[in-house]
Amino acid sequence: MESYQLFKIILGIIASVLILGFVFLYISGYSATQQEFRKVKALKSFISASEGAYLTGNGMDFDDFEKIKETAAFDPSAPGLRMGNFQEPFVVPVLYSEGPGLAIASNELDFGWWKVRYVTALPEMRILLNPLDNTDGTWGAMEMFVSNMTSGINSRHKVAFAICDDRDIVSPCGPGGCQKDDFLAGLASLKKAYGECQMRLDERDRLVMVSVACPETEALCISPSSASSGRLVQGEKSAPYRDAVDIIAAVAGGFDAYEYKNKAFFQELGLASMMLANSSLIFSKELRIIGNDTAFAMDSASKDLDRIESRLIPSLEEQKKSLPEEGKKTIESEIEKLKTVEMPRIRQCISLYRRLNETIAEASEKAGSAMDRLGRANSALAEAGCARLPKQRQLDCIIEGYAGYRPSLLALHAVAENYKGLMTDDLSGMFARANSDAASRAERLKEVCP
């Protein structure tokens, strides 16, 4: 073999190895990219499915994670879902629990004056409830939690409920647990205190202890203090719950999901309360038009007064002369009534109309405390039995909206803005009071406003 032929073979081998290596590297890189691309697609598909459920109210099964054989984790920093290096933020509030196949369902929480919509995305699971005492609080909290969970009737990824008693499973539907409605129907017959759960848990099991006094444990424990509120305890962590969705969030995704739920809900409640409070101001310019009514009412009352003074009383005096003694007495008592009751009442009304007119002018310009004074002047007019204004319903509506509903909304807004305080006990009581006040004011406004 000549040397150049040997050189040709070596060069050929080197070139082939280089080319093949290059092609192999490129193809493997390309396939890895496609693999990653599938993850991104699955994440985006989840976000789109949750948005669809939120908007339409229709639940669905989501199996894309199962298809790519990877699950996504809740990422509280976005907040959203994370899979490897990819992260996709939620566009609607989602309470997420990790799993390959998920049941996505739409729900809402009614605050009385506002409803917050949210989505749950839960894998197939068995929730093992472990009531450690037989108090009404414990069983009430359990019932509140279970009844607010998604029923999952039409889903392949069902959530089952059972009671864990020491090393046993207690359930009216067998060890696999009951569906929500069957469990709730049989709940009354299960009422007693159970032993602390010692069972070895499956991957799909979630243990939730319920007790007025939670033991020190790594499992999530609900410690009720009233019918709808109490504390959630897990290891070192502890936070108050105000509604069933707080519990659902903690069961689904731990305290990260609980914090996310509160942030998302209070952002919406903060905006809604501010918006409704502002809307009570928008029509305040209508007050100026209502002001014309008071001038008309004052004029009308003055005319009534004048008519009584200059015509009715002299006419009665004239009639009295021609009447017998009995009739005279009746007429005299009529005149006396007019002078001592009716005329002072009309004078008082004129003065109250004047006051109302002044406060209307002030309130239409700058609202604020003038609106409260307007409310008082309006109530005084009603109490004095003065004639109602033609646009009285509009006036009552504006006053109720501003002086009644608005302060409760602003109080709620202040609490909602400071939502982090709601994760401790600082603002919980304040929120409960402001929320209940806003709910009753919203009902009242519906009655008052045309």
Binding site: E2, Y4, Q5, F7, K8, L11, G12, A15, L18, I19, F22, V23, Y26, Y30, T33, K44, S48, E51, Y54, L55, P89, V91, V92, W114, K115, Q267, E268, G270, L271, A272, M274, M275, L276, A277, N278, S279, L281, I282, F283, K285, E286, I289, I290, P390, K391, R393, Q394, P450
Partner: protein, 167 residues
């Protein structure tokens, strides 16, 4: 004069160079194709985001009364509080609603709810970034002032909503 061996090696080198050149060109082509695909995906994403946001904005009780009808009262009440609105609906969008009444545009504010015909939300934050925008005919429950003793009259106005989504 080159020997036969030298010629064959030169041929081999040229062929190798040619193959490598084809591979490099293919690599550039695929990289370019992927970049184009990525950009197209990004545009598609923006369109999907715009459609989703449009559905949410036309359905949200924060802006609408029942039956997905925008409420002028709510649009006015939100006013310029764009930050709170974007906390709920996400960032990078603006919305305009123009009542189709053949009149000059008059932006709605607190004192002119009955005579205005144009609402704008979060427009101030848009700073000529690449934009995907959609127009959609919508209904607005519009108040026209105090014309009865019992109520402020409203009517259903036909309007054009423009939603712009940017990165």
């Amino acid at each position: 004069m080159k020997s036969k061996g030298q010629i064959e090696i030169t041929e081999l080198l040229l062929i190798t160079l040619f193959v490598v050149a084809i591979l490099v060109a293919a690599m550039f082509f695929f990289a370019g194709f992927q970049k184009w695909q990525f950009d197209a995906e990004k545009d598609k994403e923006r369109v999907i985001r715009a459609v989703g946001l449009m559905k949410r904005l036309t359905d949200s009780p924060l802006l609408n009364d029942e039956n997905s009808m925008f409420s002028d009262k709510k649009l006015l009440a939100i006013g310029r509080d764009c930050k709170s609105l974007q906390d709920v609906f996400g960032r990078g969008w603006f919305m305009e609603i123009r009542i189709l009444d053949s009149r000059e545009s008059v932006e709605c504010g607190k004192g002119n709810y009955d005579s205005c015909n144009y609402y704008s939300l979060c427009k101030d934050l848009y700073n000529s970034q690449q934009l995907t925008a959609f127009d959609l005919p919508v209904n607005v429950k519009k108040s026209i002032g105090n014309q009865s003793n019992d109520a402020i009259f409203t009517y259903s106005a036909i309007a054009k909503m423009k939603l712009g989504v940017y990165d």
